[in-house]
Amino acid sequence: MNALTIKDLSIDFPTTKGVVHAVTDLSLSVAKGRRVGFIGESGSGKTTTALAVMQMLAEPGKVVAGSITLGGTDVLALDDEAMRQARLSRVSYIPQGAMNSLNPIMRIENQLWDGITAHEGATDLETLKQRSNTALESVGLPARVGRLYPHELSGGMKQRVCIALGVILTPDLIIADEPTSALDVVTQRHVMQTLKDVQDRIGAGLILIGHDMGLMAQSVDELAVLKNGELVEHGDVRQIIEAPNHPYTRELISSVPLVGGASFLDDEVGAPPINRGKPGVPLLEFRGVSKSYGAVTALQPMSFRLDGEVPKIISIVGQSGSGKSTMGSLMLGFNPPSTGQVLFEGQDISRMNAVEGLEFRKQVQAVFQDPYACFNPFYRVNHALKFPFKQFGYAQSDAHVQEKMEEACRAVGLDPSLVLGRYPHQLSGGQRQRLIVARALMLSPKLLIADEPVSMVDASLRATILKNIYDLKDRYGISILYITHDLATAYHVSDYVIVLYQGHVAEAGPPAEVIGNPRHEYTQLLIDSIPWPDIDRPWGTPSTAAEDAERLDRMAQNNKTEFRGKIPGFELDIG
């Protein structure tokens, strides 16, 4: 018995600029108890299809052809009231934005109860209470969570509440729309395990929407690959991962960086890196630097020296709250350290005069996480490139600036005529992030802080942008501090890796040691939690979730650091 059958479905969005065909001729079915992954990039039609099943397409979207059958009922023929009844009781939806999906001013239990009473009519409080408690416990949350408000829960807990809500009326089909996209890898694994577990128990079909081939491989039975609204490949997950037919599927699989796998960087040896350091003086030095915000310690005292004579990429790896971004802002001088000193070429950056300050800015640049926020919406994108170039006195004439901008664009693989002179909102996230890299290239600093440079761009572009950044080191002799949550990319690009946990260095050393053969419990946990496009790899069971939580607590107590070897030109010390 199929939970869902979609036949020749087409969905159009008529806009002022013509009709957009969001989904074309899509046919697919989901059997009860089966997990089907919908994978594709943003705009591929995966979420639109799911919303069509819920009859919740955003205006002006319309189903123009085909049929959707939900366990024998033609969804498109249902009237508003019947459709309302079908939602949650027959098909439930677990949304993407776990952070904002719960009503902030209602207790969790009330938000579970109103779903029940909307379908079953008034029910006595005792029964409601019992059912909400059962639902919460089924996703591994204690019953007392029901009395709390959403802002009192962590992101992972909120997403589990959404799962509890999705199964409370035992529907035939669950649609989970990127349920873990906002969570870090450890939490992601827990939430996915919970989801698979409860879905198994109630025997519903599951549609998992996502863009991460690794997550799909470790979670679903069947895979549907969508591109531009068309189903390009559909079949058993093992068959697709191991022998993909469509070139797009192959691209999706290869875009997942693997620890120890083939590098996405070209192995060709370029010209020997340019030496730009000042001999004898370290480029960047931390002397007993720590940072706390009130009672919260964001970064425990640490010291390091980066020589910079031979450019290096140092990766700082950690989950949210690990203190990695705090390190970045300390290095940029955006935040003064609570103790210790940050020195650039031997000078304390908090004690620089105007001239030295400008020189420091010239030599230390950054690429930030959010390519959408980095451009002032008021100006054309040129402003972001032109302004610092002039400010630092590099500009000889307007023609010279223009020439340099075009050169930098080409160096990062952008066509200058397509991007320069545009407003930021006219460019894609990938284009903007590459422009920021081009900006760094134009200014050619000695040091670049890259804070999560690819976490907000589409998966297929990540490798390209990382390659652009990697080139900065090789071709232009820029030392790079790469701040990231992603161990796999850190493995490939860096010369040295520092793993942070709650502001403390857990493990540090060359990537082949730290990531390739981790010794610290925390690094191991992180690597185990990364989903890989490998079906046979064990990815834990629901019971590991509880163990992991205990392990994390234990690790927070003990401040042990694993030093795993040294590299020339970089020294790290605790305290």
Binding site: M56, R87, P95, S101, D114, Y149, C162
Partner: protein, 336 residues
Amino acid sequence: MARVPLSYVLNRLITLVLTIFIAATLIWIIPRLSPVDPAEIMLGRMAAGAGSVADSEAILAQLRANFGLDDPMIVQYLKYLWNTLTLDFGLSTATFPTPVSTLIAQALPWTLGLMILSLIVTFLIGNLLGALMVWEESPNLVKVAIPAAMVFTSIPPILSGLLLMYVFAAKLQWFPLTGAYGLTVEPGWNWEFAVSVLHHGFLPALSIVIVTFGFWALGMRGLMITVQGEDYVTLAKAKGLKPRYILYKYMIRNAILPQITAFALKIGLLVAGQVLVERIFAYNGMGKLLYDAILDQDFPVIQGVSYVIILMTALSVFLVDLIYPLIDPRIRHEGA
């Protein structure tokens, strides 16, 4: 609720005390900056108006005391602060020797009644209409009619008061032109009096309501549009909740929160608007008292009325701020 953090309450309390203090100080300083001696001028005006002034020495002394002409400035100021704290504003010069506080005590209930009624009605109607303008399920008529009605709402209440008064009181004579109750009825807890009060209060209240609901409706519309795009509203729909339930529990309940803050901020302006409406309708409240005092140059009354209205405003703001954490659970934890 007991969980409202102390620092939050303390913070609000400081703002309240500061507001009262600054208002009282302004009221005290301003007449002193005047190049003329208000006491002399007033006495002169009273004398000119009445031919002669009985007890002129006493009045002059009281005026001088009020303006602090005998003691050192600082002593006067502290005395004044203490007096205002105990709601003692001295004696009225126009109806000497009635204490200002007595006059205010007579006028205040009328103003409070009118204020509470019109403010609450406006707030409820305005927000409801604003919400309906955005709600997907509202009838089309609502979506067309409300923006059209919005044109009225740009006008200040005095102007609407004049128009309503002209049409419904002067022309159609459906409502009395002025006053808070009929001259023939006996004030007291009886049916006749109550009807008369409602009859007289209707136009002043209406003139405030029709011109201020639009402010709330417009604000609510913007907020509702934001809330409509929130993930929790999408999820509420995916939960198969009934549209009306979503409208109330998920959309309005969230969108109204900033409106309540705005309510606190706007109380001052609304009350000032009401003072003017009372003056037009010669309604027996603070507005009329203030207006008569201005005509009579009755300075202690002017000061007292201004102070009490500001005090009322500050207290309402304080109350709204105190209630706020009860409807927004997030405040209880942040504490600011």
